[in-house]
Symmetry: C2
Subunit: 346 residues, 2 copies
DNA sequence: GTGAAAGCGCTAACAC
DNA sequence: GTGTTAGCGCTTTCAC
C-alpha cells in the first residue's frame, strides 16, 4: 500500500501538518525538522494522493484538450506543443477526440467527457457561430481555432485572413496570376471556419494585385484530407481551366494536390507553384518540399495554456473574455521556388 | 457551485445512499424512487465529483500513455487507437511525452509524472533490456514496443522478425536481389529495440533466398527521422554500392529515402523498389505511394488497453506477466509495384 | 428498499 | 514552529 501523509508524519515523529508544510515549501519549519521529514518521505517513497488533494483543493492539476483527431498532423503538432507548455506548469493533459462530430463536441462541453480536469482547451470542428452560447460552461474554457468568434470565453486564433493574403501574395510575387484555391467550394464561401477566412484573404490578395477572381479556380473538398484533395485537383485539371499556382488551405490538401499534379505530369514548381498552410512537418519531406504558412503553433499552445491556467486561478473577479492572435510567417520552400515561365492572363 | 450527491438526495427526498444506488444501477430501488432521483439529477445537472470518487474507490478512471513524441506519425496513430479503445471502456487517457529521454522515462516509471492515473501504457525509447527491473513498479503497467523483453509486466508487441522477413521476401518476389537495409548501422546490429529484430528478419529472408548479406548495404541512421534517412540514403548512393531495393525500418525513413532517391534521379519503383514499416497514413500520399508493413496498430492498442484495465481490476491474485503479439500484413503499393528490370547479382 | 455514518488522504483554519 | 481538527464528496457496510 502506498504511504500517506500520516505514515510520513509518524516516521518523522511530527504532525501531518508539518509534513504538509514541508511538501508545500511553507516557511515556519525548522531546518532540522524539514530534513527529518524529507528523509521520511524518501524512505517511504511517499507520493501525494492526487485524488485526495483534488477533492480538498478543487484542483486536479490536469487540463483537457479536445481536438478533432490526433492523427491529423496539425493537431498532433498542436497537442505536442500543448503538452510541452502544460508540462512547464506541472500540469498534465488529457486528450479527447471528437472526430469532428457535433455530438462529441456537445459531450465535451457538457463536461461529461473529461471529468478529471480543471479546464478545457477546445478546438471545435462542427460547432459554429450559432452555437456560441454553448460555450457558457461552468468550467474554465479556452477556445482555439476560427469557427466561433465573440463567444463568452478566451479565444486564441491565428490571423487567417492576413496569413492567407500573404500566402497568395507570395505566389503573385513569383509571377503567378491564375491561382487556384483548394479547400472550399465556390458556392460555400460564406460558411464557418478557417476556410472562409482564408478564402477572404485569397480574394483580398487577388484584388490588391488587380487579378480577377475566377470561381472556376475555387474547388473543394470540404473534408481536408489527402484523398479528397487529390480528387478535387484532378477535377480541376479535367475542367480545363488554366492555372499556374495552387493555394491549398492546409498542408494536407497541398500534399494531395501534389500527388494529383504528379499523376498528370505537371511539374512543381515549374508549371504549377503550390503553397500550403500550417507548416506541418510533412511539408519538409514531400517532393518537392512545400512552401507553407507557419501559423505560430507553439505560440498558440503557450498562450492557450497560460490563459487557461490563469482562468483556473482567478476566483470570482472574472475578467471579460479576451481574444489573442499569433504571428504568422511565410515559409518558402521548393514548391514556390521558381518564377512563372510565362504569365498566363485570365 | 456544482451539485453534490447531498443536493440530489435532498431534492429527491431520499438519502444519499439511494441516489448512489440509482447512479450505479444497483437493484433494490423502487421504480418510482428511481424516477424521482433521476429527475433530481437532471434538474440539478448533477455530475459526480471524480476526485471524491477516486479518493474513495482508489480509481481515477484515467490511464497514462507515455510515448516518445506525439508528433511522430506512428505514435499519433497509436495514441488515436489507444484513446478510441479507452473510450469504449469509459476511460480517459493522459498523454505524456518522453522525447526518448532516459530521464523522462525514469520519471514516468517513478510515478512522479502521471499521478491521476490508474495505470500506464509505456512505450520506451531509451530504456533497454538492462533496465528491465525498473519495470517493477507499484502501479499496473503494460509495456509496448520491442526494447525490453521478459520483463515483469504484460507486454504487447508486434512480430518484428517475422514481419521484416515478409517485407524483404516481398521485395525478393519482385526480383530484387540487392536490397539495402535502412535504419541501422552495420556495426550496431546487436543493440536493443525494433532495429535489430527487423535487421534479423532482413538477414533471415536473404538467407532463405540464398542471397549473400552485404554490410555495405546496411546504413544508419540511428535516429529515425526524415532528414537523417535522406542523408543516409545519399551516402549509400555516393558509396557506389549497387542496389535495387530498400527495406526501410519504418515509413518515416522510407519517405526520407524516397526524397534522396528522387534528388539523385532514381525512379521508384523501376530502378529502386522501397518498402517501409508501420503503415502510417503518409505511405498512401507519398509519390509514389509506399508499400509498408501494417503492424496491426489498432489491435495493439485494443489489447494493451484491455490488459491494462484487467490488471487494474485484479486484486491480489496477480497473474504472471504475459506477452501478446499482433498480426501483421504486407501492404503493397506503388513503390514495389514493379518487377526488377534486370537482376543485379551481388 | 432505504438510511446513517465511517472514512478514503489531503488542506488549511485555528489553537497553542 | 508545530499540532489538532473539520470537512471536501463519495462509496459502502451495516442496521432497520
Amino acid at each position: 500500500m502506498a504511504a500517506t501523509l500520516r505514515d510520513v508524519a509518524r516516521l518523522a515523529e511530527v504532525s501531518i501538518k508539518t509534513v504538509s508544510n514541508v511538501i508545500h515549501d511553507h516557511p515556519n519549519v525548522r531546518d532540522e525538522t524539514r530534513a527529518r521529514v524529507q528523509s521520511a518521505i524518501e524512505e517511504l517513497d511517499y507520493q501525494p494522493n492526487m485524488s485526495a488533494r483534488g477533492l480538498r483543493s478543487g484542483r486536479t492539476g490536469a487540463i483537457g484538450l479536445a481536438i478533432p483527431s490526433i492523427r491529423e498532423n496539425y493537431f498532433a503538432e498542436l497537442a505536442d506543443a500543448v503538452i510541452e507548455a502544460a508540462d512547464l506548469h506541472g500540469v498534465s493533459v488529457l486528450v479527447s477526440q471528437t472526430n469532428g462530430l457535433r455530438e462529441a463536441e456537445l459531450d465535451v462541453l457538457s463536461g461529461r467527457r473529461l471529468r478529471l480536469t480543471d479546464g478545457l482547451l477546445f478546438s471545435p470542428a462542427s460547432l459554429g457561430q450559432d452555437d456560441r452560447d454553448l460555450l457558457n460552461v461552468r468550467f474554465p474554457l479556452v477556445l482555439l481555432g476560427e469557427r466561433m468568434f465573440d463567444g463568452p470565453t478566451d479565444h486564441v486564433t491565428m490571423l487567417n485572413i492576413e496569413a492567407a493574403t500573404a500566402a497568395v501574395e507570395h505566389l503573385i510575387s513569383r509571377g503567378r496570376r491564375r491561382i487556384a484555391l483548394l479547400g472550399v467550394d465556390a458556392e460555400r464561401l460564406d460558411e464557418a471556419g478557417s476556410a472562409n477566412l482564408r478564402a477572404a484573404g485569397y480574394q483580398l490578395a487577388l484584388q490588391q494585385a488587380g487579378i480577377a477572381y475566377d470561381p472556376a479556380l475555387v474547388v473543394g473538398p470540404a473534408h481536408w484530407d489527402h484523398d479528397d484533395a487529390a480528387e478535387a485537383t484532378r477535377a480541376l485539371i479535367r475542367s480545363g481551366a488554366p492555372f499556374d499556382a495552387v493555394f491549398a488551405m492546409n498542408d494536407t490538401l497541398a500534399v494531395g494536390a501534389l500527388r494529383a499534379l504528379a499523376e498528370a505530369r505537371f511539374r512543381v514548381p515549374e508549371d504549377i507553384a503550390i503553397i500550403g498552410f500550417d507548416d506541418i512537418e510533412a511539408t519538409r519531406f514531400s517532393i518537392p518540399s512545400l512552401s507553407s504558412v507557419d501559423p505560430g503553433r507553439s505560440q498558440i499552445a503557450r498562450l492557450a495554456v497560460e490563459r487557461l491556467l490563469h482562468r483556473i486561478e482567478e476566483k470570482n473577479d472574472r475578467q471579460p473574455p479576451q481574444r489573442f492572435t499569433t504571428d504568422f510567417t511565410i515559409v518558402a520552400r521548393e514548391s514556390t521556388d521558381h518564377p512563372a515561365e510565362r504569365s498566363v492572363d485570365g
